[in-house]
Symmetry: D2
Subunit: 344 residues, 4 copies
């Protein structure tokens, strides 16, 4: 089968790879209908996350089940399914606490031996371990390009809002309007936020946030802190979702958030950084981060998407055939698209 | 001033009453702009709740502050305000746990000595104790008829959803589509319910629920349990809001709710009744009831109304002058209106 | 092997039964070291719960793993283990919400085809499906008679307290001091209850509760309601654990619990009953029941037992060999023992 | 009356000051029976927190009510009371969310105009605003030296554990065994922690922690991280209470805490610091800090102290008369005492 593989920093290739085969009784094999290119793929593309040469990339996917191990109960051959970007075992310490994102046996598609040596989904077929936990049937009438958001980007946006403890009537700020930030805007609105302040420096992203019902605030040409104060009688926002992943954004988040409020850092931090601990402490803010618990949220996300409460389709800016995936990576790397969907 | 007073079962009169005067330092006096007639008023009208002859009725209100005690800080003379239907002290055992509805000193407007001897608001003026906790400024541009919902009916709908523990993506059923049930439909949708099943036997109410985004199900001509199963792969709804207040509705709620789900009984129960405890237990359902914590929720409700996320105005079916309040009670008693707003 | 089997109401026999064999890859086989006789066994003994003739009874157990399917990771041959009284799959709707007690594939040991046709543990050996979820290693130095509580009675007591939402500093009442009630007393104290009122009519049980730090109150010779008022400045208890399972006990619970408090009904209800809904509603009490989520709690319970924070050993009143199990059932049926431990 | 006043860094004096008088209707005046010297007093003593010359210090206190404003209901003249270290209004945005520690009108005793210009309690008498929220009756039989912990140090320890989300059966680490850390050890144990690891470099403090049931680990001579791993099968602790207040301790906390665990920073941070955000994020740890919500917790703390579940008396290492308060400050500054109680 054809698959997009990593060759080295800045270099990916579509090449012939062996078709996957069932290994465990809980496995399924999915014939891919569509796969997304995601910001995490760029970490690999840039060489920041190390992946073996020839490893298949990709972790967002929709397709059709073509084989299942005998213990798989929730999906069957012929089902149209979407999948989560990582697997979980369902019975370890973390899974039993519902913390599927920290499952001790978790494997992430398309990230090489760093994250479990599970071949990616930007290919014609993919092996899906723990299919009962990882796969879900695509609700009738849902497009592939929408469905693949449920197992990654929209699930991550949901996590950002859910883990923050946001309650209906809260005022929320979202810093950074990449796909995850934009999904977080949608979810905050859908979950009853009275007001969402969406901050970025790219006008087209601000425009999308505006169309989702947010107050769009330009990072440098406007004043995000003033917007937060204006919307909250000077207190600051109840919840700030930091979807950038750098220390400057965190500093803004600390300043924009009210006393006893919450900051949910969904953007990835990888290093040490200077933090205004004094202000964080004085304001008694709760700071929480980490990868999204997509498996824990996927049923809710799908139900809301099926009901039309959430709709990721405005985020899809390009469709390309799998064979043009190297070009897709280059386009995505130049930030010329929010989400590119690849079709084998 | 003129005020609507109770004279006996089925008999209310507009009569001249002395204007209220400040008593405590936390009091405010409000000149009433609009007051609602509510289902609770009918309990008095029917003689089920005992009220002294000549006592002023009413507990939903919007108006303008005309005097304040010297400790009042959150509102000032001239402010346009709405108020909650009951008062709370802010410092007793229950208030310190945020359970304002069970404040040991709570007084309810317009319910006679049974609930604290606090004269009602269907009058030209009203005394409001603990004004800092009870009153809120009307957000700019909000109509009086909308604002008065925040302190009673919409607050009660909010409570029903909030106390139930509903989470975004849940499937919710609302049994009984009086004003509170209809508000609960709006709030469940606004808080991210993937699907709301709204049950009643009155077509006009079903139509309203439908316009709020619910699946409307006729109590007798359709099959509410089947609707619940159909929306949940046979499991039953995650949350059932019982807004009727009788044992038959509770029985339906128990049957429609999934294992480990929640029933929030917002309809008033007053007596003993046979309950299928065995089924409630087997399904491990959480059953919770009681008056709404309107003071605890009013800021959130107002913020959502100001943002247009909630809109009670479709529920207002009649406007009448205060002088015609006796006729308003008669109309309301015949269930010819969902909400009547009185203007002094 | 020898096993205690059901023959008909009031009649159980030790007979020869085939040894269990591994069926699924997640199974384990345990050589039983000790098994308990439990109140639930009496429901079968009395014929209230229907079980096939010849079916092996028992669901509390400690033993040594003698075989495992190839997917079992958390225990290995030779490990000394205890098990939960029921199984769960780890990946269904309920398991993914942590509601293991309502797993759609749950099977309970020793309850015949009513609860999944899983042979019981009052035998020399037992088959344990989903061993990763159901079994735990016995902490070093813990006796078999203590360890078998973790998977049933102590886990149920833990559930009663945990699901009630009890917080440190609360005042708690426990109605009914069978083994579960007595464990709930221990757990409430261990979890920081400021005061526990333990109610029963049997002096020896009251004495045990007293030794666990509770205020023991005789059901008829003393006044439980007065005790609740005295301990709470008249308000009523924050949490009431109803470990009897009848409507009269529930009525007491409603009267003893404070406004906005919680009743956790851990005693089994099976039928319809008259409930004072009016009072339940007026007091805004949360009522919750259902079987315990033992799988969800077993790690916490074991950790507390290993630390000496919980100690079920005072509840064990008899040890008997498996061959005398019919006599053990008769003794237990006459309520002459709180817990009988059988040794094969 | 005599009062201990601030004169300048390192200099405090007992001098004559006017007796306090009632100002607001919610005020009480308390004749002080005992007042504590606290770590926060040293911040003033060292000049890090600016206080006006001649301002009375102290914020821990027990005494007898000698006058009340007419709105005070919960205490009366003659009552023996303890008080919280700060006041709250009961009706602002934060108070209505139960976040009393961030009340917009909060005033802290003995901290000069920086924190509300409220004279301190190391004096013969003190004015207590919002007495209904701030004061509590001392339970019968409780010593003054124990009671004064409820309104400050033990309340802070309670907050550390409560806000962390610790659940019964968790493994907890406490870094820093000053009075607050030692109280946190007691509370973690009382709230059902299966195991508490207490870390400090002072042997006498470790000894106290050991006597409270903790595993005492020397900061430098032993290996706290290894202890955390050993107690948790290598995972790290569920909850880490950081009671030091510096970035090195926070780094240890991040390393000792398990994935998806919680760090409660109760030690005061005042400045920027480098934090290993990457590790915090990767482990999905929740970090929360801020002053304790003592008013929100005081009833629970008192109930647990009255029940003997908590006992701060081992922390009191010195009693001294108020007149020797300057010497007491010098002793405390040299860390020669954990808690000094002053008697007027």
């Amino acid at each position: 089968m054809r698959a997009l593989t990593f060759q080295g920093p800045g270099e990916v290739t579509v090449q012939e790879r062996p078709e996957p085969e069932l290994v465990d009784l809980g496995d399924a094999i999915v014939r891919i209908e569509a796969s997304g290119v995601c910001g995490s793929d760029l970490h690999i593309y840039h060489g920041r996350v190390r992946v073996e040469q020839g490893f298949t990339l990709g972790h967002e996917y929709v397709g059709t089940v073509v084989a299942t191990g005998e213990q798989v109960r929730s999906v069957a051959v012929g089902d149209r399914v979407l999948g989560c970007f990582q697997t979980a075992c369902g019975s370890c310490f973390h899974c039993m606490r519902g913390e599927y994102q920290r499952c001790v046996e978790s494997r992430t598609f398309g990230h090489g031996s760093t994250l479990g040596s599970l071949q990616g989904t930007q290919a014609e077929m993919a092996l899906v371990p723990h299919a009962d936990l990882v796969l879900r049937k695509v609700p009738e009438g849902m497009s592939a390009e929408a469905a693949l958001f449920a197992g990654d980007v929209m699930g991550t946006g949901f996590h950002a809002v859910d883990a923050s403890g946001m309650r209906p009537g809260d005022v929320v700020a979202v810093l950074g309007l990449g796909p995850v930030g934009l999904c977080a805007v949608q979810i905050a609105k859908a979950a009853g936020a009275a007001h969402v302040i969406a901050v970025d420096a790219v006008e087209s992203r601000l425009e999308l946030a505006r169309s989702f019902g947010a107050e769009a605030v330009h990072l440098t040409e406007q004043d995000p802190r003033a917007a937060a104060r204006a919307a909250t009688a000077g207190r600051g926002v109840d919840v700030c979702i930091e979807a950038v992943g750098d220390a400057r954004a965190l500093e803004s988040a600390i300043r924009m958030t009210r006393d006893c409020g919450a900051i949910q850092a969904i953007g990835v931090y990888a290093e040490r950084a200077e933090v205004h601990l004094g202000l964080l402490w004085l304001k008694a803010i709760t700071l929480r981060g980490g990868q999204a618990n997509v498996i824990g949220h996927v049923d809710r996300v799908l139900a809301m998407m099926a009901a039309g409460v959430l709709d990721p389709s405005p985020l899809v800016s390009r469709h390309m055939p799998l064979d043009e995936a190297p070009e897709a990576y280059a386009i995505y790397d130049r930030r010329e698209a929010l989400k590119i969907v690849l079709t084998p």
